[in-house]
């Protein structure tokens, strides 16, 4: 079925801008563009906006609670008169040229009548199917009908068609029975919406690179190896362990923790570039674990300590002085299980005068994988006709217009353009808003 959300804003109506990606960059871009008086259509692939920042426990270097500062912005987005949310949706096509682009957005069937769902969660409680929870980075299970996380915006459940027994085998139907709002609709189909937009903003962010391709770092080989993002979830009050730091193999509280930087990044064989944020988030996590386990000691294996932002260097010094964080300039060669399934053995060069190969045991190991352009962003860029750089991030080649892609009217902000931290993403997102205003002024 097809719907039309107005043709490219005639004189009477506000000009429209499509923002792709509902992470902090997309949210900020949407808010500023909307505040400038344009109509924003924010397209997010997952059921809720929030993106990666919603998964973080705290943010460096102030250790501000991530959700606390993000949540108000998510809600402002939902409440803004000029912003239309298209969650659980994807951009499937773009035609035309600036300033008359026609963007096709696919509203994936969530088998829920959004208007009716109150997000009460009764259905979730009763759903018999348990599946891997993406938001919790696979550390816990969710139901086949689910709310991605407690602060989700919009607060509407979604049925995961792949796993829903009613949809796959026409059995069950419990959720429909318990839903008093009558919001369940197993017959719902994907919907395609065409939006006449003057400009498009790409803010598709990042994914973690697949560490299983790098067994030397112990991923999948040792139970007690987690990714940095998994650790964020473990540390989060609303996370899978309720904020208790425990290791997978035996549920023990680790006392000796290691972080390995540049896993797959700054690596000719994997990803050549630096992911920009790992040095700082590892430092942050090393500080945070102390707040959970007072007598824990952390070691960070790094190549260069890139603490270049405001208050970053001081943050690292504080980690060393007050939180007993040990920094070792070395790239561990091998990581293997210690005894049985538990713990990890890390083998590394000590460097310096009497450089020798040491093997040290840790209770738990955190890998900081290369951060890569998010899944589908490459295809999306091709769809848009925007060129990619060698590292597969979307190119912004003109210094004069630092947020413009190679395609006129298609702008980029945040990690989609190159690795950067939250403040830089936010600044770029606001910058995009100014660029949109410039372009639409020019187009008249």
């Amino acid at each position: 079925m097809h719907k039309d959300v107005g043709q490219s804003g005639g004189l009477a109506m506000k000009q429209k801008v499509v923002v792709i990606g509902g992470g902090i960059a997309g949210i900020q871009a949407s808010l500023d563009i909307a505040d400038l008086g344009y109509e924003v259509h924010l397209v997010e692939r997952s059921p809720s906006i929030g993106g990666r920042m919603a998964q973080l426990d705290k943010t460096f270097p102030t250790n501000d609670c991530s959700m606390c500062i993000l949540s108000p912005k998510m809600i402002m987005c939902a409440g803004h008169e000029n912003i239309h949310l298209h969650t659980y949706s994807e951009v499937t096509g773009v035609t035309g040229k600036f300033p008359k682009l026609k963007v096709t957005v696919k509203h994936k069937a969530r088998y829920i009548n959004i208007a009716r769902c109150t997000g009460c969660g009764d259905c979730v409680a009763k759903c018999p199917v348990k599946v891997m929870n993406e938001f919790e980075e696979g550390l816990s299970k969710r139901k086949a009908i689910y709310l991605p996380f407690p602060q989700a915006v919009p607060r509407k459940v979604t049925i995961d068609a792949e796993h829903c027994r009613m949809i796959t085998e026409k059995k069950c139907g419990v959720c429909k029975k318990v839903c008093q709002a009558g919001a369940i609709d197993y017959e719902q189909k994907d919907e395609f919406v065409k939006i006449g937009a003057a400009a498009v903003v790409i803010a598709t962010g990042f994914d973690l690179s697949d560490t299983s391709k790098l067994p030397q770092h112990g991923m999948g080989v040792c139970k007690d190896v987690v990714t940095s993002l998994q650790l964020e979830r473990i540390l989060s009050a609303s996370g899978p362990t309720g904020g208790h730091l425990v290791r997978a193999s035996d549920g023990m509280e680790p006392k000796k923790l290691a972080f390995v930087q540049c896993v797959g990044s700054r690596d000719a064989k994997a990803f050549r570039y630096c992911s920009s944020v790992c040095c700082m988030y590892a430092t942050k996590e090393a500080i945070l674990v102390r707040e959970h386990v007072p007598d824990i000691n952390s070691t960070i294996f790094y190549m260069d300590m890139r603490a270049t932002g405001k208050g970053f260097q001081e943050f690292v010094l504080r980690a060393q002085a007050n939180y007993g964080v040990r920094y070792i300039r070395s790239r561990p060669a091998i990581v293997q299980p210690a005894h049985g399934e538990s713990g990890v053995l890390v083998t590394y060069e000590t460097g310096g005068a009497a450089s020798e190969q040491l093997t040290e045991e840790f209770d738990m190991l955190v890998v900081c994988p290369a951060l890569v352009p998010s899944k589908g962003s490459v295809e999306l860029a091709e769809l848009m006709g925007a060129r990619l750089g060698e590292d597969r991030f979307i190119m912004t080649p003109s210094l004069r217009n630092p947020v413009d892609s190679t395609k006129k009217g298609v702008l980029v902000c945040g990690f989609a353009g190159e690795p950067m931290d939250i403040p830089d993403s936010v600044a770029q997102a606001s910058g995009v808003a100014a660029r949109v205003a410039e372009l639409l002024q020019e187009a008249g």
Binding site: Q28, D32, D35, L36, T59, P61, T62, C65, M67, C68, I69, S71, M74, I75, M76, A78, G79, G119, P150, Q151, R155, A237, S238, G243, R272, Y273, C274, S276, D304, R306, A307, T308, G309, K310, G311, F312, Q313, E314, R329, G351, A354, L399, R400, P402, E418, P419, P423, D424, V426, A427, A429, S430, G431, A433, A434, R435, A437, E438, Q441, E442
Partner: protein, 563 residues
């Protein structure tokens, strides 16, 4: 009697792991006027907010107290919810039990819980006396003033003009460009800065919206968002500019490492900008050594200046372009080539044979002059050995430091700076280009040393933020202004002398002399309130009865507990 609802936030573990939230809820239920008290995992989540909304409606509350984090970030959100639920947003009171309680008493859950109770009680007692308020709207002057004509200011101004906004660019030097005109090419893509400068200028030159003031200094700033009056001294003449928004783009300056590594004494020791000059004249030394972190990442100036490593990488490559036989060594502590482009630059430098030696703060490098050339003695941490490098030129990569005059700008605009003198944004994470003061914005290296691209992105961001009130054409004035109770006022004029904004005057009202406050001029500081001997002067949202009630509440709950 007020019908007050109290909502206590767990903030996940942030509050609940220290403060016994349920206990505080029980206590709140016993407080006068409280008809309902509840708690949420995250009051600010859509779940928490809708819970509050529903409760307001179900219990027809006329006062709302939320005990959570700080009003400085979350008050607008909760006020909005009150409005949506149909009660005046000024009937909302915020109690901070996170920053001011759980986070700072992490080791004393018991006392922290007791304190949280007292704070909640204080909030409830104030809330009971809150009154509905109406906000006043004020117009916005459709003009922006950009202070500083470097890359940041220029980019911001160009964007504002391109958005059809009347823009004044104030530059203290005789020409536009700042550092841009002292650097010939810009990393990482080796763009010619001249071209960039021209292209930015062309955006301004053509437009009647652009007003460039050279040899001009900021002299004075009055007013508030939408209605500033910026006074500048344009080579001798004073000029008053009415403006809706102000952008600070005053940049930073290169630290001069006087006395370090023989700078100023040993011929051939120069700074990055000196080298830029040489290279722009096509001169490329045969043997160059860069020493990184000169005057930074050390006690007293702990910070990393972010751009020095990348500037050295850029210039190393330029030397090799001009003089392929040249020997270039970079002595560093960490190479800060973050991201894709800078790492690429690092890779290229290594491939082109630039030699990288790593030193530690503990083993300082020495520079001496030995028969005609400079001798650099460095202890390389990687090889763990002392290495001597001969050089014609030693480039001391020094940090960007805040401009001497940033203090004056900060005082005139009433915006804060950090301990290094860089401007302090409203929130390091989510408000990077805003100041806490509405209508004043910050971009570029005046905030923090940044690469050309970063500077330009921030400048665009600041331009967007400044454009928002101007495009809207109005700002709402918060209802925290003062008023005088005519029955009590004795027209003694204390308030008139106390007001920093000449917002109060003695006027005649039905034959009686009394103080009158001009809402438009009143900034809600409350100086007049404290000056009034007879409690006639009051500030909306901070009346003496409301604050008095908070004190009484503390007395009651703290002291009666003691006995």
């Amino acid at each position: 009697m007020a019908r007050t609802g109290v909502f206590i936030c767990h903030c996940g573990h942030n509050i609940a792991s220290i403060v016994a939230v349920e206990e505080v809820v029980k206590f709140a239920r016993t407080l006068p006027g409280v008809v309902v008290a509840d708690h949420n995992l995250y009051s600010c989540s859509e779940e928490g907010l809708s819970a509050i909304k529903t409760s307001i409606k179900q219990n027809n509350l006329d006062r709302v107290v939320v005990a959570a984090c700080t009003p400085r970030t979350h008050e607008p959100l909760f006020r909005k919810i009150c409005e949506e639920a149909g009660i005046n947003k000024y009937l909302f009171e915020f109690v901070n039990i996170r920053e001011h309680c759980s986070w700072i008493h992490a080791k004393e859950p018991g006392p922290a819980t007791e304190k949280a109770k007292r704070l909640v009680a204080m909030g409830v007692s104030k809330a009971a006396l809150l009154e509905p308020q109406a906000e006043t709207e004020s117009s916005v002057t459709p003009t922006a003033v950009v202070i500083g004509g470097g890359l940041a200011g220029l980019t911001a101004a160009a964007s504002l003009v391109a958005q059809d906004i009347d823009t004044h660019l104030v530059e203290q030097e005789g020409e536009i460009g700042g550092h841009l005109s002292r650097v010939s090419v810009l990393a990482p893509e080796f763009d010619e800065s001249r071209k960039l400068l021209d292209s930015l200028m062309s955006g301004l030159a053509g437009s009647e919206k652009a007003h460039i003031h050279l040899r001009s200094k900021l002299k004075d700033v009055h007013g508030f968002v939408g209605n500033f009056e910026v006074t500048i001294d344009e080579h001798g003449k004073e000029l008053k500019i009415p403006a809706g928004a102000i952008l600070v783009a005053t940049g930073a300056q290169e630290f001069q490492p006087v006395g370090e590594y023989g700078f100023g004494e040993l011929q051939g020791t120069i700074t990055q900008l000196d080298l830029e000059k040489m290279l722009s004249e096509g001169k490329a030394p045969n043997r160059t050594v860069f020493i990184q972190c000169v005057g930074s990442r050390q006690p007293g100036r702990e910070y990393c200046s972010r751009i020095c490593c990348n500037t050295s990488l850029k210039n190393a490559l330029r030397i090799l372009d001009l003089n392929p036989k040249a020997a270039v060594t970079i002595i560093h502590r960490d190479i800060m080539s973050y991201g894709t482009a800078w790492e690429e630059l690092y890779r290229r430098a290594s491939e082109r044979g630039v030699r990288f030696l790593r030193y530690a703060l503990a083993n300082p490098t020495k520079v001496t002059r030995k028969d005609g050339s400079l001798l650099v003695e460095v202890y390389d941490e990687t090889l763990a050995e002392r290495i001597n490098v001969e050089a014609d030129v030693v480039v001391l990569a020094t940090p960007m430091v805040s401009r001497e005059n940033s203090g004056d700008v900060s005082k005139m605009l009433k915006v804060p700076r950090d301990k290094y003198g860089f401007f302090l944004e409203a929130h390091v994470k989510l408000r990077p280009v805003e100041f806490a003061t509405d209508g004043v914005f910050i971009c570029g290296s005046a905030r923090w040393p940044s690469s050309a691209k970063e500077v330009m992105c921030q400048a665009l961001a600041a331009a967007a933020k400044a454009a928002i009130p101007i495009k809207r054409g109005k700002v709402i004035i918060e209802a925290i202004t003062a008023w005088a109770d005519p029955d009590k006022c004795a027209a003694c004029g204390n308030c008139v002398t106390a007001c920093p904004y000449e917002a109060v005057e003695i006027a005649t009202q039905d034959g009686k002399q009394i103080a009158k406050v001009n809402d438009a001029q009143c900034k809600g500081c409350g100086a007049c309130v404290a000056a009034c001997p007879n409690d006639a002067m009051q500030q909306r949202g901070f009346t003496t009865r409301q604050l008095g009630a908070m004190i009484d509440s503390l007395v009651k709950n703290a002291l009666e507990a003691e006995q």
